[in-house]
Amino acid sequence: MKTLSRWLLKESIIIPLISVFVGLLIGAIIMLFGGYNPVEAYQALFKKAFGNIYGIGETIRTITPLIFTGLAVAFAFRTGLFNIGAEGQFIMGSLAAAYVGIMLDLPAIIHMPLAVIVGGVVGGLWGGIAGYLKASRGVHEVITTIMLNWIALYLSNYLIREYLIEKGQQKSVTLAESSWLSFAFLTDMFNNARIHFGILIALLCAVVFYVILQKMKQGYELRSVGLNPHAAEYAGINVKGNIVKAMVVSGMFAGLGGAVEVLGVTHNVIILPAFQGYGFDGIAVALLGGNTAFGSIVGAFLFGFLSFGATGMKLGAGVPFEIINIVIALVIYFVASRLIFKRLLNALNVNKQEEQ
């Protein structure tokens, strides 16, 4: 009993839990003041996300890209880098996968894996540019990745318009079916929800994340550089090389995300009028998940389920979408300001000890 409560009280678990709870609670208070029924609203939220097989499928579809971008941001963060460029790496991954899917004519057994891999590699290279600039020229990765986001957006739009466009539309032609990650039997099983096998790749990536960082010598080096580059260098670790490697792996995760989204859901790439926000949401996901592999999955789950279920609140209880954005923002806010809860917990513990 004591060990269980101690495990539950472990900071890394209880603080996100409290944050989510407080976020939902304050969201409910806001709804009450706005004249909405929060119980009805949250019921509608759950019903939309998990109420039927279609909802479950679409929720998983929403979560999938967030796992990838969450992992990308988390991986970079663990190595001391702030990768704001997951958005751009995601776009380049989608573009590359779409190119392979449209231009090549191969049997499915080769075509689909090739499209996924090319998407990941291109995303990795895109992230590697920022890593190289940081390592060789000392340019801060926040600056370069933000700029590379815009370059990716407009480069992608240009290339789609020039080479992949479907006439009279704002999107590319449809990818060859042999490259798709979605299969009719799966969509049928989920009542036409656009669930696809990208989720398995996402989970696999989380395992890769864990193994690289926690089980390999390389990961030890990466983490050391993240914790203290000067100490790492003093210990004989090649800091510059590790920065590039970290950005490549991080970009690869985001690029894979872009690739599976195209191969699994849209089956084409569109000329983007603005960023889609997968990469930026990834920052929030990584933050929610404490920059760990498992945490990113949980964070993506929470983020995806809240944002997908939110539309259910609109019809079910008349609550506007903005409310759920407030709830998400509050959750992130409370996770970020974990110090509040940490002190609160400490205060409680002190009181208990005094009683004893």
Partner: protein
């Protein structure tokens, strides 16, 4: 020490939530009196229902329908991948008619309409070939022809500009009709055409407008959604230049000092008409094209900036287009 910190946190949180409550809107009045018992839903594209453009206009059409006794509601899409689940939200909930607003929703409507052959759909600005879909498109070229006439009769520099959003068929129709209208008055007038590639980035509109005005253009017609806000912004910083608005009467937002007139697209009327016909049992899948004759496009009712001479010419051309004397090419 610790306690005071906690209290501060608590107070901060309360202040924070109260501030937010202040912003919360009143809930909509409850639905009542479902005489003909139809339920009509609409899914906006990413612009949202208060976009000052076609999404808002469509919602106004549905609100009129609500007054007539129907139940209406909307869902705003946050991204392209939301289109399908949002449409399904209405379909699975048993709504009678579901609207997809905007050209970009064409694929989603096509997919959902095929999966749900027993449900009915409407789409604005795109053509979906399915028996259970009404594709509502407008003859934007006809309305644009008329504002082209206005522009040609107003310009003093004999240079007119056109700022488009994305280079898609529906915007091409605006451009073609506009140029035709200008040329009908005076073929010597030069029309400068620029596409910004966006419907949201007002900065691009401002830059395009600045370049055009600097080069002697004195009237710009924009068909670029939110990008047009930048065109208006640039015009209001100068004098002696005009903007022709689009979709709605934009003089309401930007004032008569810069807004010459607007090329109205009565999306509200279209949504209302089609939904009403549906309620009366006259639903027919297929294409519905609304031009000048059907009051789908045109100039606003009040045009204080236009002289009688210009209005006469406009009405003259309007009649000729309606009775077929002039056929305006659509360019697509």
């Amino acid at each position: 020490m610790k306690k005071s910190f906690m209290f501060k946190g608590l107070i901060l949180t309360l202040v924070f939530s109260l501030a937010l409550v202040g912003c919360a809107q009143d809930s909509e009045p409850g639905e009542e009196s479902l005489e003909n018992e139809i339920k009509v839903g609409m899914v906006t594209d990413v612009g949202g229902v208060h976009d000052n453009s076609f999404n808002q206009s469509a919602w106004e059409g549905l609100q009129r329908l609500e007054e007539a006794g129907a139940k209406v509601d909307y869902i705003e899409s946050q991204g392209e991948s939301d289109f399908e689940p949002n449409l399904n939200e209405f379909v699975n909930d048993g709504w009678d008619l579901t609207w997809g607003i905007g050209f970009l929703m064409g694929d989603a409507i096509a997919a959902i309409a095929e999966q749900n052959p027993d449900s009915n759909f409407g789409i604005i600005d795109a053509v979906v070939d399915a028996p259970n879909v009404v594709s509502t498109v407008f003859k934007e070229h006809e309305g644009s022809f008329l504002v082209g006439v206005v522009a040609a009769m107003t310009t003093e520099t004999n240079k007119i500009g056109f700022v488009g959003g994305m280079d898609i068929p529906v915007i091409k129709k605006f451009e073609t009709g506009f140029v035709e209208g200008v040329k009908a008055v005076d073929p010597a007038i030069e029309v400068v055409i620029e596409y910004t590639g966006s419907f949201v980035d007002a900065g691009l509109g401002k830059a395009s407008a600045a370049t055009m005005y600097d080069n002697g253009v004195d009237v710009i017609f924009h068909a670029a959604g939110g990008v047009g806000d930048g065109v208006f912004g640039e015009a209001s910083e100068r004098s002696g230049v005009w903007v022709i608005g689009v979709d709605k009467d934009q003089s309401i937002t930007f004032g008569h000092e810069v807004t010459l007139t607007s090329m109205m697209k009565y999306v509200d009327e279209a949504v209302y008409q089609v939904s009403k016909d549906f309620g009366e049992g006259n639903f027919e899948g297929g294409v519905r094209e609304l031009g000048l004759a059907e009051n789908g496009v045109g100039l606003p009712a009040e045009n204080p900036n236009l002289s009688d001479e210009i209005m006469d010419a406009v009405n003259d051309y309007k009649e000729k287009i309606i009775n077929g004397e002039i056929v305006v090419p659509s360019g697509i």
